[in-house]
């Protein structure tokens, strides 16, 4: 009972939104790539690279805008780089991902070491961060104000991006192109589509979204870059997208669900549970999420097939 009190506070719900932010970015990133027919497993490393770029550029130029632009640029470049090797050089998707992840793990540490002389974190240099913001009227509403207001700007961008992403996918020509290519590249090609170009654009967008998530980690949530600071969040994002059934709104809710698992872990940790078991909670939740989603999906497919067989039988008996 004592423990339960920790969960029913405004702080707890505030934490959920805070820890869900990078997951939302990651899930949107995965979503765009998946709609284009590519499972992007480089989201995590894109986040790391963007986080590092943002911190370094802001520390050395003292220009927040430039840092953000550079971070996003790195994200786009990494997305397109993956696309180049996967699509144009015809490399296996997983292998490309493995290579890029390995590359990033090494390069991030090397770059950090070259600029700060430290292999663990960027605490030696002073970097800038994106400020928190209060929502004018909402902030005075009791409880709701405490939960919703006062977040980092990135958090609000994340939620806006969910809507933008939905609009992009379902209401713009580009979204239609991406979905068509992802559904069936050959069919799209036969009607004059250029699948390579569309996939590269999708992966570039995917990298862009991932980079925002990464910069939130190092310039919003924390003001420092730490090696391995994403701790697999990019992959949890892929899980959230899988569970969201390819819908940005669904992906957002799945990300919030995994964020809740994260927040629960945070609270339990303070209450001196075994930290290790608690730390595993978000990952267990993600695996469960993927499995449940797949079971439901298969169930749907099975019942659709059964219905089609029934209809076929009926029409056959009529004839």
């Amino acid at each position: 009972m004592e423990l339960l009190k920790n969960f029913l506070t405004a702080d707890f719900f505030y934490t959920i939104i805070r820890v869900s932010t990078p997951l939302i970015f990651a899930s949107l990133s995965s979503l765009v790539a998946r709609k284009g027919g590519v499972t992007n497993i480089t989201i995590d490393s894109t986040m790391i690279m963007a986080a590092l770029t943002g911190v370094l550029v802001s520390a050395f130029t003292k220009n927040l805008g430039l840092a953000l632009i550079c971070g996003m640029l790195v994200g786009v470049v990494m997305g397109i780089f993956m696309g180049y090797f996967h699509i144009m050089m015809n490399t296996n998707m997983i292998l490309t991902g493995v290579a890029i992840n390995t590359f990033t793990n090494g390069a991030a540490i090397m770059i950090l070491y070259a600029f700060t002389g430290d292999k663990g974190s960027s605490s030696m240099i002073k970097s800038l961060s994106v400020p928190n913001a209060n929502i004018p009227i909402v902030e005075h509403i009791p409880f709701v104000g405490q939960v919703v207001s006062g977040h980092n700007l990135f958090t609000y961008v994340a939620f806006v991006l969910v809507v933008v992403c939905w609009f992009l996918m379902y209401r713009t020509p580009l979204g239609l192109h991406i979905r068509a290519v992802g559904e069936n590249a050959s069919a799209a090609k036969s009607v004059g589509e250029n699948p390579t170009r569309v996939k590269l654009i999708a992966l570039g967008l995917s990298g862009l979204f991932a980079s925002l998530g990464g910069m939130y980690m190092s310039m919003g949530n924390m003001q420092v870059f730490i090696v391995n600071m994403t701790a697999g969040r990019g992959f949890i994002g892929v899980a959230a997208d899988a569970m969201g059934r390819g819908n940005p709104i669904g992906a957002m809710f799945s990300a919030l669900l995994f964020g809740t698992a994260n927040a629960v872990a945070n609270v339990l940790q303070i209450n001196a549970f075994s930290t290790d078991v608690v730390m595993a909670i978000p990952y267990v939740a993600s695996i469960m999420g993927i499995i449940i989603y797949s079971v439901l999906e298969q169930h749907k497919k099975d019942s659709r097939m059964r219905r089609e067989i029934m209809e076929a039988k009926q029409s056959a008996s009529i004839n």
């Binding site: 499972t39 497993i41 090797f85 144009m88 050089m89 015809n90 490399t91 296996n92 997983i94 292998l95 490309t96 991902g97 493995v98 290579a99 890029i100 992840n101 390995t102 590359f103 793990n105 090494g106 390069a107 540490i109 090397m110 070491y113 070259a114 292999k119 701790a231 697999g232 992959f235 949890i236 892929v238 899980a239 899988a242 075994s274 290790d276 078991v277 730390m279 595993a280 990952y283 267990v284 993600s286 695996i287 993927i290 499995i291 797949s294 079971v295 999906e297 298969q298």
Partner: protein, 353 residues
């Protein structure tokens, strides 16, 4: 020259070119980053052979790479890509330490052998979950195995801090591993022990299993064409599970063997990254067990060189990862040199006519 020979030739050329490109990039990075590039390059290239101890280091670094490479050869042979090797390698080391420290009833080599049997089966079983859910519910095997590795790690860390952590010692780590269970040292003055022989045997066994047994053939057939395999009556589910079990078991075995002679205590506080390295080794070896020895040795050499360079100059050892990544990209790229190969193919087939 017929088509098969041409394919073989090009696969060799591509591998060599990939290594070459990766090394060139590495040299360029060293030149840019380092203030004393010649010292760094010297340490990197010649360092591993400069003393008995370093040659010993080189062999010690090669051995675990052999196991994880073999692990990936089998894990990926069915065409399902998982990253189970990573979690299994970590857990293998942990299980070996746990069993050999806690089973005080067994002494000497009995303890070693018993721990390794336990490790093989535990890790094999642990690797099954991502594959089972993939086969049953069609989930993404790679992402699930990757997330599952984190779970394995935190569970492992829990076991470590609950049962193994030695709070009386100043060095962070487990209780000391029993010395009488250590493997006999082969080269005096180094830590190269009987593990080397076991690793070489493992290569032979895996090669024999994949290429000379019924189950190995089935595994490869499923990898080539799962629908065809199912059509001719092969139980694809069982075959995938078996491959995953053995692959995970071998990866775990590699982690476990590290515990008997290399370090006095178990002290892994994060995932080891060996699963990713295993993919690298196996890709470089074209997923053929007989070539694993070369690719593992090469990677061991690069890694030892980078370690030495890290200590004797100002270049970080993480440059290894960049080398690895570039090699995988170019070896994996099917379109790389494909045009030249096609031209030659056309030329030779025109000649034959």
């Amino acid at each position: 020259m017929n088509n098969k020979q041409l394919n073989q030739l090009f696969s060799v050329i591509k591998t060599i070119l990939a290594i070459f490109i990766a090394m060139i990039v590495a040299f360029m990075i060293i030149l840019i980053v380092s203030e004393e590039p010649l010292t760094a390059l010297n340490a990197f290239l010649l360092g591993p052979f400069s003393s008995t101890r370093r040659i010993g280091n080189l062999i010690e670094n090669t051995i675990p790479l052999i196991y994880v490479g073999l692990g990936v050869c089998i894990l990926w042979a069915t065409g399902k890509r998982t990253l189970s090797g990573e979690g299994c390698y970590y857990f293998g080391g942990l299980m070996a330490a746990t069993v050999s420290i806690k089973m005080i009833a067994l002494h000497g080599y009995k303890s070693t052998v018993f721990s390794m049997i336990v490790v093989f089966f535990v890790c094999g079983l642990m690797a099954l979950l991502p594959m089972i859910v993939n086969l049953k519910y069609n989930t993404d095997a790679f992402v699930v195995s990757l997330l599952f590795n984190y779970v394995i790690f935190y569970v492992g860390n829990f076991i470590f801090s609950k049962f193994l952590m030695d709070i009386t010692s100043t060095s962070s780590g487990s209780y000391p591993l029993p010395k009488d269970s250590f493997l006999p040292v082969l080269i005096p003055g180094t830590k190269v022990n009987a593990n080397l022989i076991v690793a070489l045997l493992a290569i032979v066994v895996v090669w024999f299993f994949l290429y000379k047994t019924k189950w190995g053939y089935r595994i490869r057939l499923v990898g080539l064409n799962p629908s065809y395999a199912r059509y001719i009556g092969i139980n694809v589910f069982a075959v995938c599970i078996l491959a995953q079990f053995i692959g995970g078991g071998i990866s775990g075995f590699g982690g476990g063997m590290e515990m008997f002679g290399r370090n006095p205590r178990f002290s892994w506080f994060s995932l080891t990254n060996m699963g990713w390295d295993g993919i690298m080794v196996a890709t470089l070896a074209k997923y053929k067990p007989q070539y694993i020895i070369f690719s593992a040795f090469f990677l061991g050499y690069v890694r030892t060189g980078a370690d030495i360079m890290n200590r004797s100059s100002d270049v970080a050892s993480e440059i290894v990862m960049i080398i690895q990544a570039i090699m995988i990209l170019f070896i994996g790229a099917n379109a790389f040199l494909a045009g030249t190969q096609q031209k030659l193919r056309v030329k030779y087939s025109a000649k034959e006519r």
